[in-house]
Symmetry: C2
Subunit: 390 residues, 2 copies
C-alpha cells in the first residue's frame, strides 16, 4: 500500500531576526531581535516526515488547519497532483484563507516528504539539470539609511562589494514609497548607470524597481538600461495587464520578465507566454502556488523556446532552478550593506545556498528539499503548536 | 554521493508473438510464431536496476550502444534532465541512429530505475493524479480478413463485442494501403456510422483513419463524425503542416487532436498549441522522446487550458496518462476480432493494464514503470547480448 498523510503539526517558535519589514512588506536591515516563525510538519502512515518553515501569518489555525490541511489527511503522499488539485478547487470558495502562499506551503511540504521517502534531493527528482547554479545578488529595496541604499553612489559602492564577495550578477531593487523621493525614473536610471560604471561590462545586471510606473515611464527606464547592457527588466508596471506588458516588450530589445506576482499559478503564465507579454517568464514556489506549478511553468517555457526565471531565495526556489535548464539564475538575497545574508538564525544549522568564489551555488545532496533545520531548537522554543489529524 | 549509471546491458531474446506487421508498420493478427524482442537494463553504482522492453530494431549495437548509451555511463541516475539533454544534443549530428524512439528507451529506462530507487511507482512520482484511468479500445487498422475488420459491419460487430468486454470508449483505425479499396472517405464514414449505430449514443467514439487525406477530404469526414457525436478526430492529414491543421480545427466543432508523430518532442507541441493547430494535444513516450518530454507537453497543455492525450499502450504510456489530470484516456490496444490482447507472451508474468468491467484500468503499486518482466525466461532465451560500460 502506498503511504498516506497521517497528520500535520504546526509549531510557532521563537527565534531571532536581523531584518524588519515596512508596511508594503519590503525588508530592510534591523537590529538583532526576537522573532516568531512557524514550522509545519507532515507525517505519513509509515512515520516519515517532511518539514517546511514559513512566516507565522501563513499558519493561523482557523485559516490553515481547517479549510486546508484537515481535508488532506488520508491522501497518498507520493501523488502530489491529487493533493494540489484538491487545494486548488477549495481555493475558489476560500480565496483569502486558501491563498497561493498557503497552498505553496502544502506543496513544498509534500515534496520534502517525497524526497525523504525517495532518499533523493528534490532538485534531482524534478530533473536535476544543474549541479551548480549561477546566483545573482538581489539587493533590498532602496532606503534613506546612512551608508545603506539611499543614493546611486550607495548602490555603486555596494555593487563593488558584492563583486568582491564573488557575485557575477546583481539585481537592483530601487526606491519605493514610503521613501520620500520615490518613485523616481531619473534616480532609478542614475542608480543603474552608477552600478554599471562601478562593476564594468562583465557583470550581469538586472533591474526590479517601482512596480506602478506607467507605460511611458517604463519605456524610458527600459531604453536607458538597454543601453547600459542590463540583462533583464523586471516588473516596472503592475502585473495584471498583459496588454501593457505586451506593448512594453514589443518596444524594447532588453528582455522584459514576469509575472512574479500574478495569481493563477502556471495557468496565468500560459497567458503571458501565449500573448507575448514578456520575453522571459517568471514564477516562484512561494507565490506561484508551490514547486509543482513552478515546474509546470518551466516545462511550458521550455516547450515554447522560452526561459523562466524563479522568484525568491531558499531551498524550494533553489530546487526548482536546478531542476531544469530553463532557468539561468538563482536569486540570492535580499542583500544590504548593513545586513549579513550568511548569518544563521538559531533554528537553522546550515545555509542551503552557500556562495562560491565565482558567483555560483553548488547544490546539496540531502534527501528532500534540503533545508537544514535544527528541530531540537524549535522544540525547545515552541510557543504554541497544534496538530491536524483525521 | 548520488548513484551513477554504471552499465547498460542489451539482450535480444526469443519469445512468441501473435501479430504481424505490414510494410507500413501496421499490426495485424497473425499465427502464434517465434519472435525476437530486446530487453535493455541499466545498472547503477549501487547495484539497482531498471529495465525496458523494446523492439529489436531499436538496439542494433552500432546505433544504440555507441552514439547513445556509451556517453551516459557515469551520469547521475536521479537527474534525468542531464541525460536527456545530452542525448538530444547528440541527436542533431546523428538523427537516424539517435532517433526519438531510441531516446525514449533511455528515458524510460532511467525512470524505471528512479522509481525502483525511490520505492515508488513512476506514475505516482510524476504526480499520481489518477488511480484509475478510463481506457479506450483502440482497434487495429482495417484489413481484408474474413470476419476481421474488412467492412463497416465488421467494425460494428466488433464494437458490440468490445462494449460487452467492458469498454466504454472505442477508437477506430480504418483502412490504409495496401488494402485494395483504401483510402476511402465514404467507407471511413460508413464504418463510423455503423459503429455508432451498433453501440448507441453513450459510448465515446474516436476516429484515427488514413493520414494523407487533403483538407477537403478531412473536412468531409470531420463533419460526418461531428454529427455522429464522435469525441475526437485524429490525424486525417500528414502531421507536418500546422497551417493545414489550423484550417481544419477552425472549421470543425469536433476536437481535432495531434500531433502523434511530429518530431521535436514537447517543443513541436508548443508550436501546435501556440498556433491553434489542434484542440487537443497529443504525444506519447515511445515516439515523443520519452516520459520526460511527454510530461512537459502535458504540463504545457494544462498551463494553456488544454488537454493532451497520450499515444500508445504499455507501462510508460499508462504512467504518463495517470500522472496528471490533463489526459482523459488510456489507449488500450491494438485490438482485433482475431486477436486476444490479454494473451501474455512468455517473457511477461502479468499485464500492466488489466481492464475492469466498466472500461477502466486501475493503476498498479509496483516501484518503477510497473512492467512485469520474467527475467529468468529472458536469460534462458537470450540469443545475443552486449554490455556497455565505461
Amino acid at each position: 500500500m502506498t503511504a498516506r498523510i497521517d497528520s500535520f503539526e504546526v509549531r510557532v517558535f521563537e527565534t531571532e531576526t536581523r531584518s524588519t519589514r515596512d508596511h508594503h512588506g519590503h525588508r530592510h536591515p534591523g537590529p538583532l531581535a526576537a522573532a516568531h516563525e512557524a514550522l509545519v510538519t507532515v507525517r505519513d502512515s509509515e512515520g516519515a516526515e517532511g518539514h517546511v518553515l514559513t512566516p507565522v501569518r501563513n499558519v493561523r489555525e482557523d485559516a490553515f488547519a481547517d479549510p486546508l490541511l484537515r481535508g488532506l489527511v488520508g491522501r497518498p503522499v507520493m501523488s502530489v497532483e491529487q493533493v494540489m488539485r484538491d487545494v486548488v478547487m477549495a481555493q475558489r470558495g476560500n480565496p483569502v484563507d486558501i491563498a497561493d502562499r498557503r497552498i505553496a506551503v502544502v506543496d513544498e511540504l509534500l515534496w520534502d516528504l517525497i524526497g525523504v521517502r525517495a532518499g533523493a534531493p528534490v532538485w534531482r527528482l524534478l530533473g536535476g539539470a544543474q549541479e551548480r547554479v549561477r546566483a545573482y545578488a538581489s539587493t533590498m529595496c532602496g532606503d534613506e539609511i546612512e551608508g545603506g541604499l539611499a543614493t546611486p553612489e550607495d548602490y555603486a559602492r555596494f555593487a563593488r562589494q558584492l563583486v568582491e564577495q564573488g557575485y557575477r550578477a546583481i539585481k537592483l531593487h530601487t526606491w519605493f514609497p514610503p521613501v520620500a523621493f520615490a518613485p523616481s525614473v531619473k534616480r532609478d536610471i542614475e542608480a543603474c548607470a552608477a552600478v554599471r560604471e562601478a562593476v564594468g561590462p562583465d557583470v550581469d545586471l538586472m533591474l526590479d524597481g517601482y512596480h506602478w510606473y506607467n507605460r511611458q515611464e517604463a519605456l524610458t527606464i527600459g531604453r536607458a538600461i538597454e543601453e547600459l547592457g542590463f540583462r533583464w527588466f523586471e516588473e516596472p508596471m503592475e502585473e495584471v495587464s498583459i496588454t501593457a506588458y505586451r506593448w512594453l516588450s514589443d518596444q524594447l530589445d532588453i528582455p522584459v520578465i514576469g509575472p512574479e506576482t500574478a495569481s493563477g499559478r502556471n495557468l496565468s503564465r500560459g497567458d503571458w507566454a501565449h500573448f507575448g507579454a514578456v520575453d522571459i517568464l517568471r514564477i516562484g514556489p512561494q507565490n506561484g502556488g508551490g514547486i509543482t506549478s513552478s515546474m509546470k511553468a518551466l516545462h511550458m517555457a521550455e516547450s515554447l523556446g522560452m526561459t523562466c526565471e524563479i522568484h525568491g531565495n531558499g531551498a524550494a526556489s533553489l530546487a526548482v532552478v536546478a531542476a531544469t535548464y530553463a532557468s539561468q539564475f538563482y536569486e540570492r538575497g535580499l542583500l544590504h550593506p548593513h545586513s549579513d545574508y550568511d548569518w544563521l538564525p538559531p533554528h537553522l544549522s546550515g545555509q542551503v545556498d552557500p556562495l562560491d568564489d565565482d558567483g555560483g551555488v553548488t547544490l546539496h545532496e540531502r534527501p528532500g528539499i534540503g533545508q537544514q533545520i535544527d528541530l531540537d531548537h524549535i522544540r525547545r522554543h515552541t510557543v504554541r503548536a497544534y496538530e491536524v489529524t483525521a
